[in-house]
Assembly symmetry: C2
Homo-oligomer: 340 residues x 2
């Protein structure tokens, strides 16, 4: 295909391999600078006594209201979590809205109210914003972009880069995987469950701050969103050239989520979450970090799901429930578009 014939596909927004190629091939090529090149979710900016963390995300989720949240709540959680996993205390958010002509102001108010409530819960202020309206048919209801600033202690500035991870460090998640994606799918397909599956959409900053207080030795954190656990694990292994072994039996997945995955042929490990964090913790601290997580409503189902190895450096191996081992790779494209 000639360069001039290349078009954007849904896969470019998937968070998988094709997204990565677009970002490195195009964005990094032009925007090339030390801060961006870290390719962490937040920009860490030298400033005065402390560091600043600065991040942005666009939210285009469909449907805009879903079990467990809506696009407004999501737009706060997503940006708060990006700041929190950088080690920062999230402080200030901006919100910019692109709204379709004809959109219900009642719905807009619900969204705005939800943004305000979630921001208050997370302890951040929405300090600046913008609103654009486009003619009917030129966007789908409402899109929201949020940016955030957080204050970051110097000791945590490289936590997103995993520079301190050692072989034997444990991988910990704060709960079940795939809830958000399945909640979205269920509302699109009007699936009915015995127990409704809610999106896990939530601001993790307080949980993360508590974890860093209990254990300042956490060596890596990343929120598990588009692309799921697999994508992050593969990125992480390849970034620090260590092996990762994941134990399928230890990875928490809700029964309902597992059931839907079997019906649709989805892999819960590549499904999106909006309230999950992956942490790397030195083995001697893993127990206390886990206990601390489980004492929080957002970490009740926390689990140790794997560890870093010297074997197969740069690769991720899954020890399956059946007892086998298989190499896992980043999904090439998108399982579910417009998940966030």
């Amino acid at each position: 295909m000639k360069d001039s014939e290349k078009i954007i596909t849904l896969n470019h927004g998937s968070g998988g391999k094709i997204s990565h190629d677009l970002i490195s091939g195009l964005f990094l090529k032009y925007f090339n600078n030390k801060i961006l090149n870290r390719l962490s979710d937040s920009a860490v900016i030298d400033s005065f006594e402390e560091k600043l963390s600065f991040t942005t995300d666009a939210f285009v989720v469909e449907p805009i209201f879903f079990p467990g949240g809506n696009i407004g709540k999501l737009a706060v959680c997503g940006t708060v979590n990006d700041l929190a996993v950088s080690g920062a205390v999230p402080k200030y958010l901006s919100a910019s809205f692109i709204i379709e002509e004809g959109f219900s102001i009642t719905d807009l108010e619900k969204i705005i109210k939800s943004i305000a409530e979630e921001a208050s819960m997370a302890g951040v202020a929405i300090v600046t914003g913008d609103t654009k309206v486009v003619p009917k048919g030129k966007c789908d209801k409402i899109f929201i972009s949020t940016s955030g600033i957080g204050f970051l202690k110097k000791e945590f500035e490289n936590i997103g880069l995993a520079t301190k991870v050692k072989t034997g460090d444990k991988l910990v998640v704060n709960g079940t995987l795939g809830d958000h994606a399945i909640a979205i799918l269920a509302s699109r397909e009007s699936l009915k469950f015995e127990t409704e599956i809610l999106s896990d959409c939530s601001s993790l900053n307080h949980l993360i701050q508590k974890s860093l207080t209990v254990c300042p030795h956490i060596t890596f954190m990343r929120d598990i969103t588009r692309g799921g656990l697999t994508t992050i694990a593969v990125e992480l292994a390849s970034m620090i050239k260590k092996g990762i072994m994941l134990n399928e039996a230890d990875i928490p997945v809700k029964e309902g989520v597992q059931a839907v995955c079997e019906i649709f042929g989805f892999d819960p490990l590549i499904l999106a979450n909006e309230g999950k964090v992956l942490m790397a913790v030195p083995p001697e601290y893993a127990g206390s970090v886990l206990e601390n997580l489980r004492n929080d409503p957002l970490g009740q189902d926390a689990a140790i799901i794997g560890e870093f190895t010297d074997d197969h450096p740069g690769k991720v191996v899954l020890k399956t429930i059946a007892g086998g081992k298989r190499l896992v790779d980043m999904p090439a494209g998108v399982q579910l578009p417009r998940i966030c």
Copy 2:
């Protein structure tokens, strides 16, 4: 009309009265905080030794390529200018993209390249970003949201609030009004001119920094975008409860722009600009500020266009070329949708 029947109209995004009502009635109601309530284009954030300025804007301009710029260049200029008029030195930008499935990657590359070039010219770095893709028909080609952080000296922190403006202060603009809006209109309508009208889309931060160096006594600055000169003048008069007198004869408007305005029945004073700043300057400094502006390529057509009065406090009066005087008011809605 019942509340539940209210819908978003293009006027809600116009920057005029209806936008203002939406923002105060909905956004401020929920997001209520001291920083946001300033309703300045940038959030001024207490931090360490200096202040931070933080701003965001969504860009949905149509067409995405227009004479004098494109949506990428615009997305940098708009945010840089919001920071610059707050008195800050713009430093870091985020960029989040919402792209329609099927969008040309060649066009995306042109846009990205243009963002990089304009950022480099303005001396800012794009330090973080995000990309979402929505299915064909769910947005119109590409939307970009940029946020920016700038560093702000304490002495300038209230420049956007005009707290130091005194009666007799002069109003200065750095050039002709309406160029951006007419360039957009011309490309939509395929109008041909003897001399093509280019958008004035440009980063004003260096020009503004030079002005603040020549005259740290500048008492107000705002970039003149959606809603045009009239909207800003009316907001300003009402904010500080002083009168403003504008001299139509002194307001620079290109002949071609004037001609198009006459044909379409537009008022150049409410047309959008993307490279224009309105400054308030004590009369004793107005001459040197004007000279300094005129020595810069972005200020060649700078002019003193009016002054603050004790008469008609809170109102804006235009002394017309014909010699009459008339009260001007904020436009209620939108002249041209998707201008930025």
